[in-house]
Amino acid sequence: MSRPRRLQTVVDHRKFLDAALPHIDVLHNVARGLTRDRGAAEDLVQETYLRAFAGFGGHRGGDMRSWLVSICLNTARSTWRRSQRRVGEVLSPEVGGAEPAPGRDPADVAVAEVERSTVAAALAVLPEHYRVALTLVDIGGLTAQEAAVVLGCPRGTVLARVHRGRRRLAASLESEGIRRES
């Protein structure tokens, strides 16, 4: 008696990877906006792909990028619920950890990393609906329409949250800058 091949034949994982892996930069950036550090962001991206693979057959038409980002956001939110903390409290600034960029002056790299940490820390303490809108649109690069689909809200709401979120972020970074100089 030969052992039957199991249902994995139903899903060709190569087909899934071909369709989903091109969006890894977007997911990585979204995950960076939703998590406290690079390690957590990479874990979130991996978990997103595993969930997406499991649900690939349920994805019928529609935009693959928005679908993956939705899974990423839901996964992040369930992590927040499990940890019983608001994401802003989990976030902390970090320095270092990026892949070394060949050919770049190490001092420039360090300065850029400090800037990223500063911005990430300011983003982390924004109210969640601003933070998520900014993460999807300004960091992830989704259009307002795509973000509206992911968030299940009108596009105008996304635009308003992005605008107000940017202003709050700029104001908080600048007030911090003034305080530091004084």
Partner: protein, 212 residues
């Protein structure tokens, strides 16, 4: 969001038509509140821009490895949460009677396979399976079904009919209480169960079987 803030957000995202946008441009020069809002928005956007970066190569490698491991480790039905019970090895017992009962013509395969699938779907314990055919018993959305897969096409039996006019359209057929739904693409798959034909289509979709 106030009316002026809505206009501002529309201006910033490029939604305003050229005439309105030009008018708003002039307004910004005269209005402190809007000037501040526009520039604060742009400063915020520029700071956030610094957070964008390509995913490290190691991340794509890790994703690929984990998906491959998941594919190899366990059955990966497309909607696994809905599929409760898994796969049984099917004992090979020849059911000559069943074969003659449903004998059909067909150049690709001995029709014994159809009789076997019907017998398995009707919960008869041992069924004959031609070599090259695998059979999984599944529970999908509470319905017990069997899914047969093969490299060769399953022949459409007498009384069966294609569900549409397309080439390679799925076909359906009934054998007593058992309904059959068969796909030829991407690989031949025959789903059968004591389930109404209309529901079988939904179960096939849950299993990720192609409908075209």
């Amino acid at each position: 969001m106030s009316h002026s803030e809505r206009t501002l957000a529309a201006f910033l995202v490029g939604d305003l038509d050229p005439v309105d946008a030009a008018e708003y441009d002039r307004h910004i020069l005269e209005c402190d509140a809007c000037w501040t809002a526009v520039h604060e928005d742009r400063r915020g956007r520029d700071r956030l821009d610094t957070l964008r970066e390509p995913a490290p190569a190691r991340l794509a490698d890790a994703v690929r490895q984990r998906v491959e491991a998941a594919a190899a480790r366990r059955p990966q039905p497309r909607r696994p949460a809905r599929i409760v019970a898994t796969v049984v090895c099917v004992t090979v017992i020849v059911l000559a009677g069943a074969v003659t009962a449903t004998r059909v013509g067909g150049p690709h395969r001995d029709p014994a396979v159809l009789a076997s699938v019907v017998a398995a779907a009707a919960d008869r314990s041992g069924v004959a399976l031609p070599s090259g055919v695998t059979l999984d018993r599944l529970v999908v959305d509470g319905h017990a079904v069997v899914l047969a897969r093969s490299a060769a096409l399953f022949p459409m039996p007498p009384g069966g009919h294609p569900v549409n006019d397309a080439d390679h359209a799925p076909w359906i057929a009934a054998r007593g209480e058992v309904n059959l739904l068969c796909f030829s693409r991407p690989t031949p798959a025959l789903l059968a169960g004591r389930v109404p034909a209309a529901e079988l289509t939904g179960l096939a979709r849950a299993l990720g079987l192609q409908s075209s």
